[in-house]
């Protein structure tokens, strides 16, 4: 037979930083806090404008101008108006001038979070990003030219390089002077929440002291036409959990959080914006695009998040629902929330802020995390726009009007194609 010899233990230098094996995990999981937040949505650039818009429940939808939608059923989305200038970065002028739309959004959001956190450039700063398609608009241009002018190669190599998901993360690292590692998670519309959850786990288990994380996605024709082909887009502003809802409205944006262990934040005297206390995931195997009618995986994700936060459903003050406004998704999520909250459902305040910002796909979980943090800090409930007749299947309260409220904890759901389900729980920092 093989007759292998027993070998000595691995001979890695212990002082070097490896992905595996890692240093021993702390006896108790580290507490993880948010010290910076940045957001770009159709409501505007930055936390201030977004807090105003989300607090007022002001929808940001308008006719699509980025590509031709004349032959689509739906014609509106929540497009971001990007300023021509970039925040200050370490990028060369040449590189900065050529940046794609997705990277530009990412840089605006990251700069806001980075500045707020007061972080210095670091040799090793893990970056965990979520996106569904990166800079797909460049991929579309590549394919258009490849089909229409198959012998013409001008700009094609640049498009190939810059459309790829990892390129936006690399640009981000170069812009702020850190070296990663970079992890790009693409779990459809749960990508942003999974990215934050993964970063949270890294910090909790002592695998890093600080992590830059979040999500981003831009509007592009392929995605717009894709959701339209599924008849999942509404021709009017979306109405999550409304009895007459008829589909989602797309948006675009980026949201970034700077996360660090509580000890690390305390040591450097950082201002703390909030705490992440729970994360849960589950895979729904019912169908590639349709959730299980009873929301089994959603229930599992929410339950797991509560278990990790050591909270009962009754201790959640506000729930930011995935709430896309498609008939199937909202029915499934409502069933899951009803079962998860039990008798406490009638007291639970729920809204879907996609009624304001649109569905940001891979950025949704990250943007809604920022909304939860803003609401916890400001002590207001993000109202849901465009609801007239709540679906009677919802046993919970849908927050339809702007209101101040005392909220200590907020839960955010993100569900995606392929059955990717993720739940995050946040706590007010006081």
């Amino acid at each position: 037979m093989l007759g292998l010899k027993i070998l000595p233990k691995p001979q890695f230098e212990r002082e070097v930083r490896l992905l595996f094996p890692r240093q021993k995990s702390p006896a108790q999981p580290n507490r993880v806090v948010v010290t910076g937040a940045g957001i770009v949505t159709a409501l505007g650039l930055g936390c201030r404008l977004n807090a105003e818009g989300f607090r007022a429940g002001r929808p940001a939808f308008r006719p699509v101008t980025l590509f031709d939608v004349s032959r689509q059923r739906a014609k509106i989305a929540a497009e971001v108006e990007l300023p021509p200038e970039l925040p200050p970065t370490k990028l060369s002028a040449n590189t900065a001038r050529r940046l794609d739309r997705a990277t530009r959004m990412l840089l605006h959001a990251a700069h806001e979070a980075w500045t707020q956190a007061g972080w210095e450039p670091a040799e090793n700063l893990p970056v965990v990003l979520g996106t569904t398609s990166g800079e797909m608009a460049l991929g579309e241009k590549f394919l258009q030219q490849a089909i229409v002018a198959p012998l013409q190669k001008k700009q094609q190599a640049t498009r190939v390089m810059h459309y790829q998901v990892q390129q936006q993360g690399l640009n981000l690292c170069s812009a702020f002077g850190f070296q990663g590692p970079l992890t790009s998670i693409s779990n459809a519309c749960a990508s942003g929440a999974n990215a934050i959850g993964h970063a949270w786990e890294m910090l909790r288990q002592g695998r890093a002291e600080k992590v830059l994380t979040g999500g981003y996605d831009i509007l592009c024709q392929l995605t717009f036409a894709g959701f339209d082909s599924l008849q999942a887009l509404s021709t009017t502003p979306c109405r999550p959990f409304d009895a007459q809802r008829d589909g989602l409205t797309l948006g675009e944006g980026a949201a970034i959080l700077t996360l660090e262990t509580l000890d690390h934040a305390h040591k450097r005297g950082a201002e703390i914006l909030g705490e992440i206390i729970g994360y849960g995931t589950a895979t729904d195997t019912h169908h590639l695009t349709q959730p299980h009618p009873e929301g089994k995986a959603a229930l599992t994700a929410m339950t797991a998040a509560c278990a990790s936060a050591k909270l009962l459903p009754g201790q959640i003050d506000y729930l930011n629902a995935h709430g896309t406004a498609t008939p199937h998704n909202d029915a499934s999520e409502a069933a899951a929330i009803n079962r998860w909250a039990g008798d406490g459902a009638k007291d639970l305040r729920v809204s879907s802020t996609k009624s304001v910002s649109g569905h940001l796909l891979g950025a949704a979980g990250a943007a809604e995390a920022v909304v939860c943090l803003l609401a916890l800090r400001g002590q207001w409930l993000p109202p849901q726009a465009s609801i007239t007749t709540p679906d009677p299947a919802c046993r919970f309260k849908i927050s339809g009007e702007p209101a101040d409220a005392k909220i200590e904890t907020a839960l955010s759901n993100s569900f995606g194609f392929g059955g990717a389900n993720a739940t995050l729980i946040f706590r007010r920092w006081s």
């Binding site: 007759g3 292998l4 990663g180 992890t183 693409s186 008849q231 990717a420």
Partner: protein, 345 residues
């Protein structure tokens, strides 16, 4: 410190379906034959190394989720099932918590190209059956559905080195007790769009497709196997750290070679990437294996084949340790070390 063991390997490659034909091709060392693929609008076809049809139709093809699935999903499921072996039954029965990590660079590009061509022709008639299959996490979703498992699944997107990041993520889940076992898959598929894109950077590179899978657990398996001894940090190619510097840092983190060890290199077709890797390993005196030169440019599938080949030569007793070096296409340099872990009679 907990140890992590390789419990199973699986591949779909231009050498055929399964680890055995892959290993036979690597042992033989000859370039695998190439095929032609039509590139619409070009007189000359493109040269590729594609996955040959399976000798017998795999049973999983009949699963409702996989009847119309893309090639990348079929490759993913085939490689994962081979790696999982006998553990498929307890997973499907809910007796074993499985984590799924699927890594890809180009993703479901064939269906994406077909769907977007339909959009360009007439968006109101674009197929609703194609669009859901274009998302990066469709292969992971199909695999979870086939295995009837609702555990955590992540799809990681990046260059070749992402497969090694996936292995590191799997060790996290195992050590954090989030899963009893984790299958990590690197998967790609063939389409002329990607073949053409590769040629923009390296004219003579030969695009290949397929998947490779490694199944990891904390328990030591009964048979001879490989142990995952370490994964280096991921060193990015950024404005302030070029490919050569990243490769050098990766090399420094791997232990010096012994006389009976193998170096499994990524050997990119791109001369710049190849030069960076060669510079990092210029002092390596042991034997080298360059899987990509035999199998072709398969991105994350190629780095998965590298790791599978490394584990397989260890399990077969031919080498006691293998350093795996991946200097990726455009993101990172990252390495892994596998060791023999068992004595068999």
């Amino acid at each position: 410190m907990s140890r992590i063991f390789v419990h199973g390997l699986g591949t779909v490659s231009p050498a055929s379906w399964g680890v055995a034909p892959l290993q036979a091709a690597l042992t033989k060392g000859d370039f695998l034959p190439t095929q032609s693929v039509v590139r619409p609008g070009w007189e000359k076809p493109l040269c590729i190394r594609n996955v040959p049809p399976p000798e017998t139709r795999p049973a999983f093809y009949a699963h409702p989720r996989l009847r119309r699935a893309s090639d990348i999903s079929l490759h993913t499921v085939a490689a994962a099932l081979e790696a999982l072996g006998g553990d498929v039954v307890p997973i499907q029965a809910g007796a074993l918590r499985l984590g799924i990590v699927v890594c890809t660079m180009a993703g479901s590009v064939a269906y994406s190209r077909r769907f977007y061509e339909e959009v360009l022709r007439e968006p109101s008639l674009a197929s609703p059956q194609l669009f859901p299959e274009t998302v990066f996490n469709a292969p992971a979703s199909h695999l979870a559905a086939y295995l009837n498992t609702n555990g955590t699944g992540y799809t990681l997107v990046g260059d070749d080195g992402t497969f090694l990041q996936g292995l590191a993520l799997a060790t996290d889940w195992l050590l954090d007790n989030r899963a009893d076992g984790v299958v990590v898959v690197g998967a790609e598929e063939m389409d002329w769009v990607v073949t053409e894109a590769i040629r923009l950077f390296q004219h003579d590179a030969i695009h290949s497709a397929g998947a490779g899978a490694i199944y990891l657990r904390k328990e030591k398996p009964p048979a001879a196997c490989a142990e995952l001894a370490g994964i280096t940090d991921s060193f990015l190619f950024t404005q302030s750290q070029n490919r050569t510097e990243a490769a050098r840092k990766m090399r420094v983190q791997l232990p010096p070679c012994g006389p009976d060890e193998l170096l499994c290199v990524s050997a990119q077709p791109n001369p710049l990437a190849a030069a960076a890797e060669n510079a990092a390993w210029h002092d390596w005196s042991g034997r080298r294996l360059a899987t990509k030169s035999i199998l072709g440019e398969g991105f994350t599938a190629a780095s998965a084949w590298q790791c599978v080949a490394a584990c397989n030569v260890i399990a077969s007793g031919r080498f006691s340790a293998v350093n795996t070096s991946v200097v990726g296409a455009n993101q990172q340099a990252i390495g892994a070390r596998f060791l023999a872990c068992a004595e068999t009679g």
